[in-house]
């Protein structure tokens, strides 16, 4: 990472102009403070993570044995759909936005986000989006049951009535994401402290800058595709209805034009977090800072030309399959650069293994496994076997759970002392880590095998030969799910009690945020720091 030498005395907590937070509920409703909004995003994301996780456990409980035991197939489909939607749009994305809110102003030396009022709004519409989405569970006909990818015509002609609520929910959360992205770009481009040049920015800031551009480019396309669905359902258009001259395959193209950049939206900030944590605990500068930035930028650009690898089986011409196959494989190059740089950062470093570092290390190893299974899926001729099997489920859970989710947990443990002012309870953290690490692998590794053997995804029942691996996965899922209670307990305890944390918190930590006292005062960097 770039050198950040700072003149310290700019931290003025006791400035008479700076009042503390307002009292009562109003503080949270009307706040424009980036730290408050960041906390609300993170708490919201944690709630959604628990709701989405409960749905995952319902799915795994049903799949513990072959046959139908606990839930109706239609309810099972609602669970897979809602689990996907809530985890993607409710847990992972808001968690990253929350971290961005907390950390980006502190990392670039800004007093707050560039557009604080909009920041408040972009958070507060989010709970309503998910209230609308979750309320569909209690509607006649049930919640959306067509999978989180909501392929038409399953999601139009054959959808339950509640699909309209789903569409409005997606509109609102899309608006929230776009506003959040505009805010983040404006903050990073306009609010940096003097001397903080672009190539001195911490990598978390860099990855979020690029992610925000991705969000602005593709969230409107998602809004567009659900709007087309809305018009097909209610206004008699035929975008996706072959009988009226439309084309269902068009849906898949437009959806994945959004969908593929979307999966990078969920992993690029994770790259940034890991690039912050590993240097701290290796007590070395990040190896290849510039190449990390260029790698992220090229991954983001490539994400726009690979979407059809999600739909190799729709009957594309050979040229298309070959193009999308090689374009997809090309992404392995910048991703490989990142993994090698992380390893090189650790090489001959003075490593210590505090909880954030453990999660970061698990991220590097397990995300790489997920990356490799992604490469396997990218091979067009082989994909005809893997398509829509549990192999795909194993792949994207490996990149999203020990990828995105572990990075969010690593970030929480890493910055929590800065937020609360209390040192972390390492024992609890390590218990949480090891339970999660073991649980995740028991859950998702067997899915590779049943997938290769041909078990389709999104089914409530399966052939007998898949029984052992499925019961194994279910046991793992419950271990992983319940170990998150340790995490919640640990965080709550940390907020309430704990040893006083120092400003730097971690011995090897570098960067502007560690020059601030712990807990970070309500207003920080009202006078910009001087970065040399």
């Amino acid at each position: 990472m770039a050198t950040v030498d700072v003149d310290l005395p700019h931290v003025k907590d006791e400035d008479p102009h700076h009042h503390g937070p307002a009292k009562g509920l109003g503080r949270w409703l009307y706040t424009t403070n980036h730290k408050d909004i960041g906390s609300m995003y993170l708490i919201f994301s944690l709630c959604m993570f628990m709701i989405g996780g409960t749905m995952a456990l319902i799915i795994r409980a049903e799949l513990f044995q072959p046959g139908l035991q606990l839930v109706e197939p239609n309810f099972f489909n609602q669970m897979t759909t809602m689990h996907g939607l809530i985890m993607v749009f409710g847990a992972v994305m808001p968690a990253f936005v929350g971290l961005a809110n907390w950390m980006i102003p502190m990392q670039v030396g800004a007093p707050d986000m560039a557009l604080p009022r909009m920041n408040n709004w972009s958070f507060w519409i989010l709970p309503f989006a998910f209230l609308i989405l979750l309320s569909s569970l209690f509607m006649p006909g049930g919640a959306p049951n067509f999978g989180w990818t909501f392929y038409a015509p399953l999601s139009t002609t054959y959808a339950p009535e509640s699909v309209t609520f789903f569409i409005f929910g997606v509109h609102i959360m899309g608006a929230s994401s776009i506003m959040g992205a505009i805010n983040i770009i404006a903050t990073i481009l306009n609010m940096r402290a003097p001397g903080m040049t672009l190539l001195k920015m911490p990598l978390f800031v860099w990855t979020w800058l690029i992610t925000a551009f991705l969000l602005i480019a593709v969230m409107p396309v998602l809004a567009g595709v659900v709007t087309m669905m809305l018009m097909d359902i209610h206004f008699g258009t035929s975008f996706f209805n072959a009988a009226g001259g439309g084309d269902p395959v068009l849906f898949q193209h437009v959806f994945w034009f959004f969908g593929h950049p979307e999966v990078y939206i969920m992993i690029l900030p994770a790259f940034g977090i890991i690039s912050e944590i590993i240097p701290t605990f290796a007590r070395k500068r990040l190896f290849g800072y510039a190449s990390m930035v260029y790698a992220v930028a090229s991954i983001a650009l490539l994400s726009f030309v690979v979407w059809a690898h999600h739909m190799f089986t729709v009957g594309m011409p050979l040229v298309g399959e070959v193009f999308f196959m090689f374009a997809t494989m090309l992404i392995a190059v910048p991703t490989g650069v990142k993994v090698f740089n992380w390893v090189a950062t650790m090489f001959r470093g003075s490593l210590t293994f505090e909880t954030p570092m453990l999660f970061a290390l698990a991220f590097v190893v397990l995300f790489t496994i997920g990356g490799f299974s992604g490469l396997m899926l990218a091979i067009a001729p082989a994909d005809f076997q893997y398509h829509d099997t549990y192999f795909v489920v194993a792949h994207f859970h490996y990149v999203l759970v020990p990828g995105a989710i572990f990075s969010i947990m690593a970030a929480t443990y890493y910055w929590l002392p800065k937020w609360t002012g209390h040192q972390l309870n390492e024992t609890m953290g390590k218990i949480h880590f090891w339970l999660s690490f073991v649980g995740v692998n028991i859950t998702f590794f067997p899915m590779h095998f049943v997938g290769l053997a041909g078990m389709p995804r999104r089914i409530p029942d399966y052939a007998l030969q898949f029984a052992d691996f499925n019961s194994m996965a279910s046991v793992g899922a419950f271990i992983f799910g319940f170990s998150q209670l340790v995490f919640i307990y640990n965080v709550i305890q940390n907020v309430r009690v704990g040893e006083k944390a120092t400003a730097q918190v971690w011995e090897g930590a570098q960067g502007l945020e560690w020059t601030l006292p712990s807990p970070a005062p309500y207003h920080t960097f009202s006078t910009p720091p001087e970065v040399k």
Binding site: I182, M191, A217, P220, G224
Partner: protein, 193 residues
């Protein structure tokens, strides 16, 4: 400094919001783009080759399997199926087959079959010389009919394609027919999709 910064921020925010609106439009622009692309390349099997063709040479060195599939969309009560599931033909050879349709309802109905070819690369090479899908098909209540299809596989068909699937979806056009009072046309014009 601060005021200028605020102006800059506002300008940037407006630009980014405009970009978001443009991308929303781009999502919709993908629809005609997709149709144009399919039209040019013949992807998606939407390419119609109809009317008489001049193919004199029969390529006797290989045969191609042509499979027939029929699909009834929701709310289409007719029985509709091919009389032959698949035929082997030599490229260049004229072949005729017949599809069976029955209107089991108690009212007069009109239907239109819409073809689609898989793999889509094969679509430009399957010539329909005469097809029931060129015209709307009226059927009295309870009546049935046999509908002919005359086709040729182009000898230019790439070697690696050995099976072509021709799928027909049969759509109910009765309500539209009643409104416009159009008689089943005799000209073999393009069926517009």
């Amino acid at each position: 400094m601060a005021v200028q910064n605020e102006k800059q921020t506002k300008r940037l925010a407006v630009r980014l919001a405009t970009a978001a609106v443009v991308m929303f439009g781009f999502g919709f622009a993908l629809v005609p783009l997709y149709d144009v692309l399919c039209d040019i390349t013949g992807l998606n099997g939407k390419n119609f080759n109809q009317g008489p063709t001049q193919i004199a040479v029969v390529d006797g060195s290989r045969t191609v399997k042509v499979q027939f599939i029929t699909v009834n969309p929701a709310n289409m009560p007719w029985s509709f199926e091919p009389t032959e599931r698949s035929i082997r033909v030599s490229p260049g050879e004229d072949r005729q087959t017949v599809f069976y349709a029955k209107n089991p309802t108690s009212k007069w109905m009109v239907a239109q079959a819409v073809p689609s070819v898989t793999p889509s690369e094969a679509a430009p090479y399957l010539h329909k010389v005469n097809c029931f899908c060129f015209e709307r098909q009226p059927l009295e209540a309870g009546a049935d009919t046999e509908m002919p299809l005359l086709f040729v596989v182009d000898p230019e068909l790439p070697e690696y394609i050995s099976t072509i699937t021709l799928s027909y979806a049969l759509y109910d056009l009765t309500s539209e027919q009643k409104i416009t009072q159009v008689k089943p046309s005799k000209d073999k014009g393009r069926v517009s999709l």
